[in-house]
């Protein structure tokens, strides 16, 4: 216990210094406390409510929405909003939520948590709720493959059987995990079937290994399945969205209350299906916490996707859209390409998806290029695909393999040159897709296109 308090006080002192020098959100105090005792996360006092959000995609947006929901409810909330989803980040977050006597000073902690290390960290955070957004194919180097991550999360939630789970019923990988926890399911009804994807995350039934059938499919494996061989099937949603109205940014959500089936209108935060899932997960959490419908809707109505994830500006008739897209993450990239496929206006796409680290050592693993669905970009109204970065020759092959005509492909070594190849006079929109850790690079390319639009004018 002495080591614990020494660690707590030392890290509190370091936090004070960081605060003075204006670097408040740094993980180093968390690291320092861990050096005093590796039991720090377990021993640090927890507030009345701890919510952990994990999964492959959608963690950051969902965490931000959950924190805002709780703040709007009037709770004092601590959360690792600087993207510190690592052990030292969790410790730093909890350290900021206790005083020097290890007494909690907040009402709730909301933690964006790394899925790959969940089996070693969740137990010490003692969560009341665990939200699993989805489990999908991700970076080969980091996450190997989706079933490996599923097994890790399954182990993690089994270690905290009292934590309640908020699960996406339309994700067969996370929603069919075996665990004793109480579960709240959400889903979105549709009549869609996925158009194409190269790599099936849920190709076979986990019970009998026969090919699964989908009743509906939003994208990739996100949908409702039934096995024709053994009849194993998806869970139904406790909270089910339907009638998604993108034009008016509104969706309906139905659920069973003690007064029978209820239906409410929920305003969307973005026109993408993956953000509808994120929003619905937060609505489900709100209901699980006993928040009245009107209050949840009111709290969420003003929320938007963080600017660093997507932002748009129209200049002289051309919309310049900057969209964070996780390179190496097959599912995330494919979903963004699917979203572009659904656009009907004339557009061009700039891909700046090289990893930051790869710039220096050229170590990027290229296998993901051949699992990702570049096929979605093979559409008449997608006029050109412009790729920059030192894997440009690999992209060229991957795009050709996806059936994209060679004349629509521009691949250049220098990522910053991509802005010069956008035909700003012939399109309605340009999307700059940038790697998650390369926001400044994406912004620089986007700004260069905006400068061209301002100087040369837009659509003719």
């Amino acid at each position: 216990m002495i080591r614990f308090y020494l660690g707590l006080w030392a890290s509190k002192f370091l936090m004070l210094i960081y605060k003075i020098i204006g670097n408040e959100k740094d993980d180093k105090p968390g690291m320092l406390a861990y050096r005093f005792t590796n039991k720090i996360l377990e021993k640090i006092a927890k507030p009345k409510l701890v919510i952990v959000i994990t999964g492959t995609n959608g963690k950051t947006t969902t965490t931000s929405l959950v924190a805002q929901l709780l703040k709007n409810k009037g709770l004092k909330v601590a959360y690792n909003d600087w993207g510190a989803n690592s052990l030292s980040g969790y410790i730093r977050c909890f350290l900021g939520a206790v005083n020097i006597f290890n007494k909690s000073t907040v009402d709730a902690c909301v933690i964006e948590a790394d899925e790959r290390t969940s089996n070693t960290t969740f137990k010490d955070m003692n969560p009341d709720y665990i939200m699993i957004t989805n489990i999908c194919r991700d970076s080969i180097r980091r996450n190997a493959y989706h079933l490996y991550i599923r097994s890790i999360i399954e182990e993690a939630v089994n270690k905290v059987p009292n934590a309640k789970l908020i699960l996406n019923a339309d994700d067969p990988l996370s929603s069919t995990m075996k665990c004793p926890n109480k579960k709240y399911f959400y889903s979105i009804e549709t009549d869609k079937k996925a158009k194409h994807y190269n790599a099936e995350d849920f190709g076979v039934c986990p019970k009998c290994y026969h090919k699964t059938n989908y009743i509906y499919q939003h994208y990739r494996h996100i949908g409702k399945f039934v096995c024709p061989n053994c009849e194993f099937k998806s869970h139904d949603g406790d909270y089910t969205a339907y009638d998604l109205d993108y034009k008016n940014s509104m969706m309906k959500v139905k659920y069973n209350s003690k007064d029978g089936e209820k239906s409410i209108d929920l305003p969307m935060i973005s026109d993408s299906i993956f953000n509808c899932f994120n929003l619905l997960s937060v609505f489900t959490l709100g209901k699980a916490l006993g928040t009245p419908d009107e209050a949840v809707v009111k709290y969420l109505a003003s929320e938007k996707v963080p600017v660093k994830r997507e932002n748009r500006e129209v200049i002289d008739g051309v919309e310049v859209c900057m969209q964070m897209t996780k390179g190496q993450n097959i599912s995330a990239s494919s979903v963004v390409f699917n979203y572009l496929f659904e656009q009907t206006c004339d557009l061009e796409v700039v891909l700046a998806l090289n990893e930051a680290f790869c710039d220096k050592y050229e170590t990027e693993t290229v296998t993901w290029l051949y699992e990702t669905d570049f096929e979605f970009l093979n559409k008449k109204n997608i006029k050109k695909i412009i790729v920059g970065g030192n894997r440009y020759l690999d992209y060229k092959v991957a795009l050709l393999m996806a059936g994209i005509p060679e004349e629509k492909i521009v691949c250049v070594l220098d990522e910053y040159e991509t802005a010069n190849y956008v035909d700003i006079h012939d399109i309605d929109k340009v999307y700059v897709l940038y790697e998650v850790e390369c926001f400044p690079k994406g912004k620089k390319i986007t700004d260069a296109i905006k400068v061209r639009l301002k100087n040369e004018g837009g659509k003719r």
Binding site: A144, N198, A199, T365, D394
Partner: protein, 239 residues
């Protein structure tokens, strides 16, 4: 020409199936048989020109071993009869004697006298360059296991600090008669145009490649990159 892909719904990780997509582009007239877990493998009763099996999740290895073990003798005979096999990534583990995982022994087909040791929390990620005769082979590795036991028929000789089938050898994979098995994973036929031409010739096909110029552009740049003295080969989670 007939090519059989074994269990593509289960062996579909790391982009290995891009090899099949690419072969379909190079051989538009060939017949591709995709065998699912409920099917009897096509090669048991028919002649095929190539059998391909790619990387698979650990969770599916036992399922596939159970399915294939009854055809073990047929597979052995096909290999002895010079049938062409291309086996990539963790599919290679199926052909050894067993996989050792945390004290547990998973018995596999026993076609080759090797065994594999799995460490779930000690994964190996790397870039690779090596030589198969006069062909320079490049690619990626990402594996939970290493192969041990005497390897009388190594496939590729790893260069520089690149690892072979385990950290103590430069011998990578198994090449016996026309059986080519390697830990290299993903789209190895797209990344290695010289090897793909070699394979197509073995199959009796013309050795012209689809997107040949672009494949060679990417390949030549990769070889150049991997031959640099400052190149990093062993990769962490992030790079």
């Amino acid at each position: 020409m007939t090519i059989e892909i074994l269990y593509p719904l289960l062996t579909n990780i790391y982009g290995d199936l891009a090899n099949v997509r690419y072969l379909k582009e190079c051989l538009p007239k060939a017949k591709f048989i995709e065998t699912n877990i409920e099917d009897k493998p096509y090669f048991v009763e028919h002649d095929v020109n190539l059998i391909y099996m790619g990387s698979m999740p650990n969770e599916y290895q036992e399922v596939i071993v159970n399915k294939l073990s009854k055809y073990k003798d047929v597979i052995k005979k096909k290999i002895e009869d010079n049938l062409l096999f291309l086996i990539t990534g963790s599919a290679l583990e199926i052909f050894g004697n067993f996989i050792e995982d945390n004290g547990k022994k998973i018995h596999t087909l026993g076609i080759f006298d090797n065994y594999f040791k799995r460490e779930l929390f000690n994964r190996h990620n790397s870039l690779f360059i090596g030589d198969y005769n006069d062909i320079v082979m490049v690619g990626n590795k990402s594996q939970f296991t290493y192969m041990y036991g005497k390897n009388n028929h190594p496939f590729i000789k790893a260069r520089y600090v690149c690892e072979g089938s385990n950290p103590d050898t430069k011998d990578e994979g198994i090449c016996y008669k026309n059986f080519y098995g390697t830990y290299l994973l993903g789209p190895i036929l797209i990344l290695n145009p010289d090897f793909t031409k070699f394979l197509l010739k073995k199959m009796g096909a013309k050795d012209s490649l689809k997107y040949e110029k672009d494949l060679y552009n990417a390949y030549n740049r990769r070889v150049q990159m991997l031959e640099r003295p400052e190149q990093r080969y062993i990769l962490s989670d992030h790079g």
